[in-house]
């Protein structure tokens, strides 16, 4: 595959290194001369010193034949514009952007960037279980449907502890798909299945209903009266 990487900082460097080792044709576009030199010294003649947001640069880089275009600079606005130029001017099939602010995921998706990766969001997802204010962990986005699979560990304080699934009022188009108890035993939920503290609930939800689902599953009993 021909893979273009915009940004030759630490992320771009190690990404390029791995992809070269895997046998791909890689080009790193980087503005900084010293970083370009380091890439050339260590990985070979695969660095182009230029602005990866400029059409002229991307033309010279042969972006039209790239299978994958990845922008990993430390500035979200640069990653957005580089990917938008690649997508709209050179018809690159798959664009990947690094996000520094995870909240930019929505606008990037809306503007046609195929994949976004946020280290902040990834770290949050790994520690979220321990953070009482962020109990909903995204697991998987079902492409094109607007649906997501999320996981929640039911806190002991939750208002739904001890209730049967049939009694829980879920937001529209949300469903509980699987319950894994504290021993790690999975159960297919039925309407008379009782939810216990510490259960892992795997649910399918519309993206816009995530907050509502979070409230249903994790709000402490006293708050709901």
């Amino acid at each position: 595959m021909y893979i273009i990487i915009v940004g030759g900082g630490k992320v771009g460097y190690y990404l390029a290194k791995q992809l070269v080792e895997d046998g791909h044709e890689v080009l790193v576009i980087e503005k900084d001369a010293a970083k370009c030199q380091q890439i050339t010294d260590e990985l070979g003649d695969i660095a182009l010193r230029a602005d990866g947001c400029e059409g002229v640069t991307l033309e010279a880089a042969g972006t039209g034949r790239a299978d994958l275009f990845i922008s990993v600079t430390g500035d979200d606005e640069d990653n957005l514009v580089a990917c938008q130029v690649a997508k709209n001017k050179f018809d690159v099939r798959r664009t990947v952007a690094r996000l520094n602010n995870p909240k930019n995921e929505v606008i990037f998706k809306k503007l046609g960037i195929d994949t976004t990766v946020s280290s902040t969001a990834l770290i949050l997802a790994n520690i979220e279980q321990e953070l009482p204010s962020h109990p909903l962990i995204p697991q998987l986005t079902i492409k094109g449907s607007g649906l997501e699979i999320v996981e929640v560990k039911v806190p002991p304080s939750s208002a739904i502890v001890g209730k049967r699934i049939g009694e829980v009022l879920l937001p529209q188009q949300c469903l509980i798909a699987l319950i894994i108890d504290e021993e790690g035993v999975p159960r297919v939920p039925a309407s008379d299945t009782t939810i216990r503290a510490g259960d892992e609930v795997v649910a399918v939800t519309r993206r816009e209903s995530k907050d509502a689902l979070r409230l249903v599953l994790a709000t402490p009993a006293r708050d709901t009266g």
Partner: protein
């Protein structure tokens, strides 16, 4: 967004016309460019951070202008204003004419000072050339 020479001058013009103006800049010192009689609101913050834009009330704005020195910041802020906050009138300054063309074709209202100033300079040059001919 952007309280440089252009942003400050535009904010002052609109303010004198009686418009309700909010100006945002990442640098707190930038607001010294505004005239002393400026009555609008000034906010320090990052114009491509949706939380900041929410806080300054972008959702209620009738228009948004991106005039920071960075083309990519302007492009991103304008697209957030248009697609996330649903602002009806969004105008985006883009120095690079090639990028300006692309975003114009993607439906953004754009102005490239580079292109415009080049055009004005050319017009001025052509006028200069005509005057002596007319006099002589």
């Amino acid at each position: 967004m952007g309280c440089g020479r252009v942003g400050a001058a535009l904010a002052a013009l609109l303010n004198r016309e009686g418009q309700e103006v909010t100006i945002l800049d990442i640098d707190p010192d930038a607001f010294s460019q505004l005239p002393p009689d400026f009555k609008g609101r000034c906010f320090v913050g990052n114009g491509i951070d949706q939380d900041v834009l929410q806080r300054i009330g972008l959702a209620e704005a009738d228009a948004f202008v991106a005039a920071s020195p960075g083309d990519n910041r302007n492009v991103m802020a304008s697209q957030i204003a248009k697609h996330i906050f649903g602002v009806r009138k969004v105008v985006c300054r883009i120095f690079d004419p090639i990028r300006e063309e692309l975003y114009h074709s993607l439906g953004l209202e754009t102005i490239s000072p580079t292109r415009e100033v080049a055009r004005l300079l050319k017009e001025a040059l052509e006028k200069e050339a005509e005057t002596p001919k007319g006099e002589g």
